[in-house]
Amino acid sequence: MNFKQCGFILFLLFLGLIGYSQTNKPIKPKADYSQNADGIVEYIIESVAENLGEDFDYTEMVDRLNYYRKYPINLNKTSKAQLLELVFLNQVQINNLLTHIQKNGKLINVLELQGITGFDLETIKNLLYFSTISQPTGFENFSFKNMLIRGNGDVLVRYQRVIEPQKGYNIPDSSKASRYLGPPDRIFTRFRYNYNNNVLLSINVEKDAGEQYWATSGKKGPDFYSGSLYLKDIRAFKKIVIGDFALQFGQGLTMWSGLSFGKGADIFTVARQDLGLRSYTSVNEFSFFRGLATQVNLGKFEFTPFVSSINIDASAVFNPVTLTDEIGSLQQSGLHRTASELKGKGRINQLVYGSNLQYKTRQFNVGLIGYQTTYSERFAPNDAVYSKYDFTSNHLTNIGLHYNYNIKNTYFYGEAAHSVGHGFAFINGLISSLSPAVSMVAFHRNYQKNYQSYFNQAISENTIAKNEKGFYTGLQIKPSKKFEWVSYFDMFKFPWLKFSVDAPSGGFDVFSQFSYIPNKVTRFSLRYRIRDKEQNSPLSTNINFLEPYRRQNFRLEAQYQVNKSFTLRNRVEVMAFKEESDQQRYGFMAYQDVNYNPLSSKFSGNMRLTMFQTENFDTRIYAYESDVLYGFSIPAYQNQGIRFYVNGRYTVRRGLDFWIRYALTQYSNLTTIGSGLDEINGNQKSEIKLQARIQF
């Protein structure tokens, strides 16, 4: 090769570079990341989902984040509502960003973000996973032709089962005992069709383990169907949902269905970020609506009327006076495996209608919501004193007023709610960035003992926002990009009795976490949490009296990258539980994660080995586990043993993926696992999941 040729090649390369740099990327889909692939979605979920149950379905949020992963938000063309969907941004940050764009014009370089108050490097890094900066494209011109070209859909099928035989499946039909009527497989199918975030069709079909695929009597087919058609931006109709939908307004005191968060490591999520009307896309078989809803925008007003009629599960109690059945309790598990569970299935009709009217400017936002709930049966009264203020009618009217207001570095928010004929509930709080390094959140709540709402998910220490007063303060200190210190302090009182608490009681919850993040891929964190509450003393006396009990968690976590393909993570957690009349009890857990995520390979995966040893139920330890895409598990480690799981993903070609997950728990101090119909004879329990997805 002579010099001339060399020069020519260099010239070509140079042209290529110019050509590359000039390519104006429209909204080009980024590579398809799942929560397993890069951990960012997983990290966000784990930081916000501290207190949710074991089997909660986070699909809606993962869907949302994955969508923006694939089709990043254009920060120059975004709205407050859209930024709120990225759960990790707080209200002050969002407001500052929008104000910055309004004042200084469109963002030209992502580096500009660093100049906006409240944006530390970690936040910017997270934000850039889900957003880009480009000039507005304006291709909302909807047509059916475009819909076929630009639209995309996917079908996902998942199969899972516990491998070991469980007692409930091996009881012969002839015996009259309660048994699982269906096979132990769980089968889940979902279909999505999305056009440019303007049309979203989703269908979920699910059969839980133990449920019949083809019911022998009554309705045929899988146990749970859910579907919705979601249309956006049709003239003044900002949103229309036909089918299953969720509603989230204000702080969730009056109306909130679907996902919400409690207190956790992300302190700013205690201020609920309401998304209004959404289509319902999860498989949790409760807390959603079925019917028709729309959001109409008229200038600065948003009007959201909704109507829903759905059959829900409830146990029956016979009332000997009126000779009718009444509702014993609502069943939220969505499991219909035994004859008695099937008996309660869809027994009650729930009719909900109402609307939310909101006045919105960038700084100020106030909304008024009112709705009625009617059940086809009355709720049966419970004689226990702690249930004295429970709802016992079949008809309830709720009204609520919610607001938020941004001024300078502070965001004020709150909600007042009233259940007509019953009690009131209030929450008021603020988020403020006190200095570039320090942000705080504080809120006060007062939920009366007789406040009633069946769609109440406001932040609370109790499972629902009722019978509680409290004051919460949280502080986040980030003196540099390498250090972060987050703490919160919460004090609460329960003015009325609760189950197993035969007097007014109270307590506190304090959390503190220190993180050291030396570089992008390494993170060390140390966490401490202490919770004090009161309950009936286990000592047998003539009169029950309360005694305090204390839960303490210590957690040490390290995450680091070995090379471009392998990331490792370790966690050690100790739980200490102390009742006043008993000695301190301990639980211990340690795990090792290995994450394999090469840049260019069809395979990716991860595995974890956990060792745990806990003295009793009270010292159980929860940990979020990686799962197949849209699969979730947050098991409680209890007793003594080892748990292992492995997740694998194989991308056959673009648009066709397979997942496999195998999990095994081996107990060293048990001969049977579980109880009742779930009981396994032996000391090990294993589960397999298989999943396939086709995108088109």
């Binding site: 403020s432 006190l434 200095s435 570039p436 390094a437 320090v438 705080m440 504080a442 004051f471 303060t473 502080l475 200190i477 003196p479 703490s487 302090f489 004090m491 109270g506 307590g507 506190f508 304090v510 202490i530 004090d532």
Partner: protein, 266 residues
């Protein structure tokens, strides 16, 4: 009802068996985490904190305990710079007519350079219980503050290290404690302070507080302490030479104790 609550409160105080030193509404509103703070009220907290005062300041505070009319703490502090030293005086009167604790203190504080502050204090304690009589005692306190970084002050304070007691036989003791902590100034608007305290024969306590100046003349404050878990809040107003501060603490069982102070800088 009122009497019942009074009895409950008194029995609690007896259980705790410790005199409550009122550190003024500013430090109280910051959870009591004041061992590394500088203020005239340091004369009741960590006396080293008065060593950098350049003008005489006096302040009076009135605290109502648990919103019970009969129980109150009245306290006063005064500090005056004299050459290389700052002289501090403090006075506190606590209780009801039938039971009264009084504490008077004199402190001598000195700065060794701009970074190291020290102080020594002598307190005179009096206890009066009607129909039982009077008793008195002396105790000593030593304090230290050090500027470790431009924004970071560290503080340490020891009270009654020789465990001096009242002359008459009584179960009531003069608490011996050790406290240390830090205060960090994030900006001219924001200070966060922390303190670890161990009182002899009592559980260790952790306290933390925050002060944020919305404008130069107006600050809001908040804090918590862990043992027992208490929350605090307050605000302060600085009008020329006049200082008005308000603070409130919330005990999980006994309820709220508000206090107010009025200070003047000469």
């Amino acid at each position: 009802m009122k009497l019942n609550k009074l009895l409950v409160v008194l029995s609690f105080l007896c259980l705790n068996a410790k005199a409550q030193v009122n550190t003024g509404p500013r430090i109280t509103a910051m959870g009591g985490a004041g061992v590394a703070l500088q203020d005239v009220w340091a004369a009741q907290k960590n006396q080293a904190g008065i060593a950098l005062l350049t003008k005489p300041i006096a302040s009076l505070a009135y605290e109502n305990k648990f919103l019970i009319k009969e129980i109150s703490t009245k306290s006063a502090v005064f500090a005056i710079p004299i050459k290389k030293y700052v002289l501090g005086a403090s006075f506190q009167n606590y209780g009801i007519n039938a039971y009264r604790e009084t504490q008077s203190g004199l402190s001598l504080a000195r700065a060794f350079g701009p970074k190291l502050l020290t102080a020594i204090t002598v307190n005179y304690h009096q206890l009066q219980i009607s129909n039982y009589g009077n008793t008195r005692a002396f105790s000593v306190q030593v304090g230290l503050q050090y500027q470790a970084l431009p924004n970071l002050w560290l503080g340490a304070h020891v009270a009654n290290p020789n465990s001096s007691k009242y002359a008459e036989t009584t179960d009531l003791i003069i608490p011996a404690h050790i406290q240390f902590g830090g205060s960090y100034t994030f900006s001219d608007k924001l200070i966060i302070s922390t303190e670890l305290e161990k009182i002899l024969d009592n559980k260790a306590d952790f306290k933390t507080g925050i002060e944020y100046k919305i404008i130069k003349a107006f600050a809001i404050r908040g804090g918590v302490s862990m043992n027992p878990f208490k929350q605090y809040a307050g605000f302060g107003l600085a009008l020329e030479n006049l200082l008005v501060d308000f603070g409130i603490s919330s005990h999980p069982i006994l309820g709220y104790s508000p206090q107010i102070s009025l200070g003047y800088e000469f």
